[in-house]
Structures are given as C-alpha cells and as structure tokens.
Amino acid sequence: MALSSAATPGERVRRRLGSVVLLAVTVVFFFPYLWMLASSLKPTADVFKYGFPLSWKTFLPPEPTLANYATIFSEFGFGRNLLNSLIVVVCQVVLTIVVCAGAGFVFGRYRFRGSRVLFALVMVASFIPFEVVMVPMYVVTRELRLTDTYAGLFLPWVANAIGIFLIRQSVQEIPRSLDEAAAIDGASTWRTFVQIILPNLRPALLTVGLISAVAGWNQFLWPLIAVQDPNKQVVQVAIATFTDPGQLPTWGELFAAASVAAVPLLVVFLFLQRYYIRGVVTSGMKG
C-alpha cells in the first residue's frame, strides 16, 4: 500500500509505531542467535559467570576466544560429525534433484494408463507425517541392512513427494510447443527432457535442492534412531547428546557446536531466501 505520498500526521505516527514493533520483533528473533554466538566466544568458565547477574558482558564476550571451537574439533570429534552431515546432505540433494526431476517431468507432460493413480499416491505420500511412520520406516531400513550407513540416512528422502509436485508444476509452465518442436525435429523423449526441459527447470531445481539441503542438514529424529555408531552420527544429534537433561553440559563447547550447525545454513538462506521461500510457500513444507 503506497500511502506514504499523501501521509497524514496520524498515518505517519502509525507508520513509526509499526517500525518500532518490527524492531522489537527483530530483536526477539535474532536475540537467541546473538547470545549463542557471543557465548561461544567466551572461555567456558566465564559463560555463566557473566550470565548472572545481568550485565553487558552477558551479551558480548569481553575477551573473545576461539578455544571452544578448537576443543569441539580436537576433543569431541565434531569434525567427524560435520563430515558425516556433509556427505549425507550432498548425496541427498543430488539424488533428490535427479529423482524428482525425472518424475516431475513425466507427471507434468504425459498421460498414460495409471498416471493419475500414481500421482494421487505421490500426493498421499506427501501427507504422511514422518513421525507417524517412523517406526515401520526404521524396520524397513533395518531389514535392508541400511541402519548405521550413510545410505540409510539419505535414501529414504530422495523420492520427495513435495519435490516431485514442485517440479511437475514448473514443467506445466513450460510451453508445450517447445518440446513439440523438438519432437518434430526428431529428438527422442530423453533428449527432449535433457536438452529442452531441464534447462528451463533451473529455478525449480534450485528450490527443490535448497529444501532438500535444509531438511537433510537439520534432520534430527531419523538419524537419532537410524544410527547408533557414534562415528556415523550427524551434527544435529551430536549436539543434542552433548548434554543430557538434568546434567550440567560443557557450556562453551555446546554453544560453539550449535553455532557451527546453525550459522552456515543461515548465511546460505540470506542469499537464496527467494528460492527457498517460494518452495516453502507453494508446498507448505518446513525444513
């Protein structure tokens, strides 16, 4: 609403008030991150010395140090967890894009006997909350001898119903005349897919890749149950098991590990917000 040109004094006051509310929202939502980062830069002994009572030192590290970051890699083997997470995410993203692009292309372009039923089943799959089927999913994965393997962590997610849906939508937006022209020139279905459709799908593929990357990097419950071997465990589970309820955690290291797990993704998000948000809005999926 571009009302500012004819803004009355009352409207100006209201706009300023609105900005104040937005500032408050910004503080409330960024605050835990700032606190996490600041605390990760403090020597462990100081984290809660300055936490209570409240002072500026609660929020800023008086003598910043990277010691906590050094410790989590040298003593807690966090590098191993980080590598595991990276391997899982890369495999998951690449395979998800490949699988969803193929299926999305077929569903977006072709009708054949059973295609409607198949697509309906894909939609049903997208409605199943993972938590409800996690137990049988675990059983299936175990029977396939995939527990405690990287494949067990990413394979269940590469046939992503939401990704298939998003790509099907984009395929339908590409003019049919494009691939019909290619077909008349004698291009095979495969060539049409690779040379005509895929290049036009770039934004959709980026969206699906981002959604899959965020989901893969952040997953918690599945690796918690599918992986017992500490050497195969991913970052998120490693962080949560740094501290047991009722026990005093090693504060500084915990903050450092949480920062490593959260910040890279936040940075990627800031740059690629547009693509990620589009996927979230059109599919109704959260990472």
Binding site: L23, P32, P53, T58, P136, Y138, L155, V281, G284
Partner: protein, 316 residues
C-alpha cells in the same frame, strides 16, 4: 507437509487442450522405456519408504510385535487399541498434545496474521524483521532446543538473569510440571511463526490493490479493514495456516527429547514422544503402531473440523 491437494484443485493446470502426449511421439517403445526409467526411482522410493511403512503400520497395529524379533508376531485384533484406551500415560500425552495444538492456534495464528499485515505495509525495518522471523525456519530443531534449554536453565539461564535483574522472583520453567508445557509451547511458536507469517504474507500480496483502494474510499481502515476486508478474503489462506499449525503441533518431538524427556512427571509427554518410547525403549512395535494410526485419525478429524468451522464462520 501438506497443502498440495488444496492447491492442485485451485489451479486450472489441466485446462490445456490437446493433452494426449503420445500424439507427438514417433517411437512408442523407446518413449515408454524413457518414461519408465524417469519414473521408477521415485515410485520405488515412495513405495518402500513412505507408502509401504504406512500400510505396515496399519497392519502392525493389529498385531503384537517386538522390535527385537519381527518374525514372532501374533494377530491380536483390536487388543492394542483396547489397551490404549486404558493407558493413562497415553491419555495424558494425548491431552498434552491437544493442549499444545490449542495453544498454538490461539496464540500463533492471530499473531502471525498481525505480523503479516505489518510486514505487508513495507515500513522501515521490514527487510530485517522478515529475515529475523524466518531465520528459525532454516535452523535445526536440535540447535533451537539446545539454545532455549540453556535460556530456560533454572539457576544460570538467561531468562532468570533478566527476571532477577528486573526484581521479580526467578522461575523454575522446565523443572516445574506447571510451567514446562507452556515453556515448550513458547519455543514452538518462536520456531514456527515465521512459517505462518510467510503463508499469510503470500495471501495478502495476492489481494489486488484495488480492494484496498475501495476500502480506503469507504473510510474502512485499521482493525475494521483487517476484520471485514482482509480476513474474509484470506479465508483459504487462514485455513492453510491453521492446518499446518495443527499438523506441526502433532509432530513435535525434538524440544521434548532434548529439553525434558517428557517430564517432569509426564507434563510434557506427547503423542510422538510416547510412540518413540513405546517403540524404541520398550520395543513394543504393535502398540506404537496403534498410537500412530490413532494420531493419523485424530489429525484428519481435527482438520475436517477446522475446515467446517472456517467455512461456516466466514461465509458471507
């Protein structure tokens, strides 16, 4: 993860004429082969890891199966469900789940709507506030749970430092059975509200500017503009937001696992955590499956109820 069906209905994507693709293809056999190769991985994957487990869960809910010995299962009819009805811990955890859902809907949805209206006005500070609101969407539940856990800590946590500084008595938060569930709910709202705002914002931006201009001419503004112009126009969006908030509420697990393990005294136990315990601590696969099926039925029922309420309430 669920709005697609709503959307496919709404968009007239099937309206393109001449949709029989086979007409343009000259080599049917290789064409079929290509289609099969492109489609197979997705279908196999979904069948093995999504639809298969759903059917398996349904079957298992009528059996007595141990996670440790799958071959020794026994058909028991409705015995698992009958046992559930008498399990006070189950009732307690379902009660907590429903309380959480209600809390979420009552607090998060109106707040998200208000924030979306504010963001839509492109005030100074909008970009930063947007980024801040959406940041939790890309942060893992584990990190969020760990950070909030430390903020809630009884003696040394940040919240108590602030409360103490302002002169009020410090609070037990997660260690009190009265405060634990509201504390977990607050984390959930902080984590998810950006998502609701996003959906509302997309809805608001789809409203043509002429509607606002007409309202402006009629002297409708402020609260009345929101209540009588925006809300009715956003009926469908509101439904999507409440649907998603409901589904996510049923799925809460990470904060409970990290922060309270269902305690104190089952005060934060919920449907998914109860199911997790039954399956992975007691190896009781059949029983856990019965919980899962009950949850699916309950969620479906709640969504149907919401669809009905929102439809009649806002019809005009």
């Amino acid at each position: 993860m669920t709005t697609q069906a709503l959307r496919t209905e709404a968009e007239p994507t099937e309206a393109v004429p001449g949709r029989t693709a086979a007409t343009a293809v000259r080599t049917p056999r290789s064409h079929k082969l290509t289609i099969g190769v492109l489609l197979a991985p997705a279908c196999v994957g979904l069948a093995i890891f999504q639809l298969g487990p759903l059917v398996y869960a349904l079957l298992n809910s009528f059996r007595q199966v141990s996670l440790l010995d799958l071959t020794n299962s026994k058909y028991v009819g409705l015995a698992n469900y009958a046992e559930l009805l008498q399990d006070t811990t189950f009732w307690h955890s379902m009660g907590n789940t429903l309380l959480y859902v209600v809390g979420k809907l009552v607090v998060q949805v109106p707040l998200a709507f208000a924030l979306a209206v504010l963001l839509d006005r492109k005030l100074r500070g909008t970009a930063l506030a947007r980024a801040a609101l959406f940041a939790p969407l890309v942060t893992s539940g584990a990190v969020i749970a760990v950070i909030w856990n430390l903020m809630y800590f009884p003696d040394t946590g940040l919240f108590n430092a602030i409360i103490d500084w302002s002169g009020l008595p410090t609070q037990p938060f997660l260690t009190s059975s009265a405060q634990a569930l509201p504390a977990i709910l607050l984390v959930g709202i902080w984590e998810d509200i950006g998502f609701s705002v996003l959906i509302f914002l997309a809805g608001l931006q789809a409203v043509p500017a002429s509607v606002y201009e007409a309202a402006e001419l009629d002297g409708v503004r402020g609260f009345r503009l929101a209540r009588f112009v925006m809300l009715p126009l956003l009926r469908r969006t509101t439904m999507v937001v409440t649907f998603m908030a409901t589904v996510f509420s049923f799925r809460v697990f990470t904060p409970i696992f990290v922060m309270t393990q269902g305690g104190p005294d089952n005060a934060t136990n919920n449907a998914v955590y109860f199911m997790y315990q039954q399956a992975f601590q007691f190896s009781n696969l059949g029983y856990a499956s019965a919980v899962g099926v009950t949850v699916i039925v309950l969620v479906a029922g709640l969504l149907a109820l919401q669809a009905r309420l929102l439809r009649t309430d806002l019809e005009y």
